[in-house]
Symmetry: C2
């Protein structure tokens, strides 16, 4: 470690590549690979080696010049940077189809984000068991967040309720929200929001599909 950089200086684009680096490195680790060069790793991710080194450079000194990266050292280093060295408990607000799907998604825990609370306002859903956890009534939101030390929430409530639930989450100490509701959330600057909107994704895809079908993509 040679330089300390403030996170704010790390470009958004780099931040989004970090999880992909970690994912691929964990795969290599599981295969017993010990060393990997920037070229090898970059190629497997379909990016340029210089970009990968440039990205790593924000955090300084993962290897020494002349030596390839050691998978066993890089994995924990990236986990520390991303913030998943310790498990990060998460809450899921909204136990509809999507909320249930996410609560059921076993990989969440494996990736470092164990689900420690599932909440819904619908009394018919409250009490339902998902992977050994009950769906809780919304009045349990604040106490469970406090008790479990939850900092990240996944929001899967209908759009009309998204903002009021968000306000409660912020007051309860939540610092990061993954928003699946198709609406923009107002939060203080000290809270990070990531919007996951399926509709936007499928429409962007549709634009490209149209361009492929109409031979309008500049490839011919």
């Amino acid at each position: 470690m040679r330089k300390v950089r403030r996170h704010s200086e790390v470009p958004e684009a780099t931040i989004h590549r970090l999880p992909r680096y970690l994912e691929k490195l964990k795969l290599l680790q599981a295969m017993g690979v010990e060393d990997v060069s920037s070229r090898q790793l970059a190629e497997s991710l379909d990016i340029k080696a210089s970009q990968l080194r440039h990205d790593f450079h924000y955090f300084g000194g993962f290897s020494r010049p002349g030596r390839p990266y050691q998978v066993g050292k890089l994995v924990p280093a990236l986990e520390k940077i991303i913030g998943v060295s310790e498990p990060q408990p998460v809450a899921i607000i909204g136990a509809g189809h999507l909320g249930q799907a996410l609560a059921n998604y076993a990989n969440m825990g494996v990736q470092g984000f164990p689900v420690r609370g599932v909440f819904d306002a619908n009394p018919r859903l409250v009490g339902l068991e998902i992977r050994g956890q009950p769906v809780r009534d919304m009045d349990q939101l604040e106490p469970v967040i406090a008790q479990e030390g939850i900092r990240i929430a996944i929001l899967t409530v209908p759009a009309p309720f998204a903002q009021e639930v968000t306000d409660r989450l912020v007051k309860a100490g939540i610092v990061g929200i993954v928003n699946f509701a198709p609406t923009d959330l107002k939060v203080p600057k000290t809270v990070a929001v990531r919007n996951e909107r399926l509709a936007v994704g499928i429409m962007a895809l549709s634009f490209k599909v149209k361009c492929i079908l109409e031979g309008d993509c500049g490839t011919e």
Copy 2:
């Protein structure tokens, strides 16, 4: 319409804003708003007016200099550009929790992407009804895609099966794939893929949460 531009020249960033423009404009339309200036529209989306005009400029002439945009003209124009003037039938491959959640998501049809086929390899899921549609066996994949004229598929199968299913989809004439499997897909250049990976999103969020909690964000 003054200029015809090839789609390939439209930047990725612009493509991803088009659905957001359309979404907001439809909202305005539903409220009975007839005219909207670039400044008003941009402000409501938290972007710069010049960026919005610059984006629209790729497609040329939505209004005339001096006159604001007419919502009633802009909505169908954007729908045409994005490719949702006609409903685009989609197939969902994989009827696990996530696949079921998506098949249940009524908004899909409203947004212009009606679900016209849900498929799974698990015989215990085959026959299950979701919103009036049966989960079909995988051997129905090719005939249904052909019969319904489906061009876009949503992939929610486990990662180990993602590539083989993709190969079948491509052979069956699918041109766009929304990939929820946590693995990269190999496809010909004539097929568009959009990766929707929850793990990447929550990890990118985690990085920011860490930076907020540690006061390492340059805001103080």
